[in-house]
Amino acid sequence: MPMINGSGLYGLKSCFPYPAKLVADSGIQSSSVHFRESDMIPRFSVSETPGVTGDSMDIDGDPFHHSDANPKILEADVELSRHRISVFLSTHTAYELLPESGKVVALDVSLPVKQAFHILYEQGISVAPLWDHNVGRFVGILSPLDFILILRELGNHGSDLTEEELETHAISAWKEGKLQLTRKFDTNGPLNPRRLIDAGPHDSLKDVALKLLQNKVATIPIISQDGSIPQLLHLASLTGVLKCICRHFKHSPASLPILQQPICSIPLGTWVPKIGESNGRPFAMLRANASLSDALSLLVQAEVSAVPIVDENDSLLDIYCRSDITALAKDRAYAQIHLNELSIHQALQLTQEASASYGFFNGQRCHMCLGSDPLHKVMDRLAIPGVRRLVIVEAGSKRVEGIISLTDLFRFLIG
């Protein structure tokens, strides 16, 4: 059984003024409690701010008990920084996200899902747009979440398909079936999940970022409609947009004053709730000996994209992300294992072996930061490709204090 920590001391520092409001997903059957990472923006109140004209700040009645920074200055800093970033994003286009010579891999929608799995693994990518020859355009995206859902479907009740049908089960058929599945528990999904969410190369970076946030997707294709032929140019993610921001403001840090603030003083990220919080719900973490199927359940139901793996002291050991699922394609591991017999520790080993065998230098898997780190440091780390979240840890003990993801950062920066 997974050990989801609902009690115990977290040793939190005092620079934590904002009681975190958690919203539980109503459709969950399991007994452990989950939360939605995207709703996890702690709210803070501002008493009087006569000079502030912005109406994007949340104001509620929660007591504000931070002792250090002057709240009015903080508020003004946030507003100014947000405004400047907004201007930058509105005046630059998605064309800037393209590398000088980029590669993008697409899959035909009639490919069997199993083969798609292997292709993504061999190419070292986790996401690919889907091309439908019959309609002559891109119709969707295959992402790690699809594989997780497929594996759970197969694991749960062996599927209705015969072995041979599984071999040829096409992506298009899977997407049809998934529509039925997701309608059951994803009430917050995009309005029209069948329509491809994409952007053009001349769309502003702000539009791209907003599309990513509002549709809760990690990647959208940049497609140029050249006459009647759609040209796939790039797969855009918040990482690319953040890199543009960092590059642009690198030489004028004073123009974004909020960047100097430590992240514990900004309403950003998801924090482990304080001891004694009456409405505090557990922060999703798992032990290394928990089963893979529990991890996948968390990734799906809690709608988080990664789960920190901790030891008995809540110190960070590793992290399991949705994109790690493609490592199961190594030696067809997914066919031989039952999800609840494979521990997270073993699954993580597979990921490491997978990276090694393809000559990929995995680098650091868990990217961490301290609660006292300034925002610009956090932004620089999040701008590294492949890093979608940072785990906030206590110095020394590496005890998990919270998580900041790209989504959290962008919701804070552009609202």
């Binding site: 590398p99 010579s101 190419q123 020859h133 230098f361 680098g363 590294i384």
Partner: protein
């Protein structure tokens, strides 16, 4: 450059400064053999082999991750992946230029069974 032919026709030759002709012994080129002419010309221009489509991004999180620029001569040519015959998936790729950047696209398609046309 010394072109004695030119000199003969245009420039008046000064006595004592005529350009000597090559010694007859230096004319030792054999006639070209027929095996060079016997070969068919290549089916495809050789420069088309230099495609960057087989490259992948380095996985070390390098912020400057990009492929090498494709040669301009390979742009807008459709490539097919070279794999052994019994295969169920084929990779097609081509490189093109979008404004001043290069895009290398690879599409994986299923191969139809024998008896039906490949879509």
């Amino acid at each position: 450059m010394n072109n004695s032919h030119c000199q003969d026709q245009e420039t008046p030759v000064v006595a004592g400064f005529e350009v000597p002709t090559s010694p007859d012994a230096s004319y030792n080129n054999i006639y070209t053999a027929t095996e060079d002419d016997g070969r068919d010309p290549p089916i495809v221009p050789q420069h088309l082999q230099h495609t960057v489509l087989s490259y992948s991004y380095p996985k070390n999180g390098d912020p400057a991750a990009r492929l090498p620029d494709p040669q301009h001569v390979v742009l807008n040519h459709l490539y097919i992946e070279n794999r052994e015959a019994p295969r169920s998936v084929v990779a097609l790729g081509f490189s093109h230029r979008f404004r001043s950047k290069y895009v290398n696209v690879v599409l994986y398609k299923p191969v139809q069974r024998r008896g039906s046309s490949i879509s």
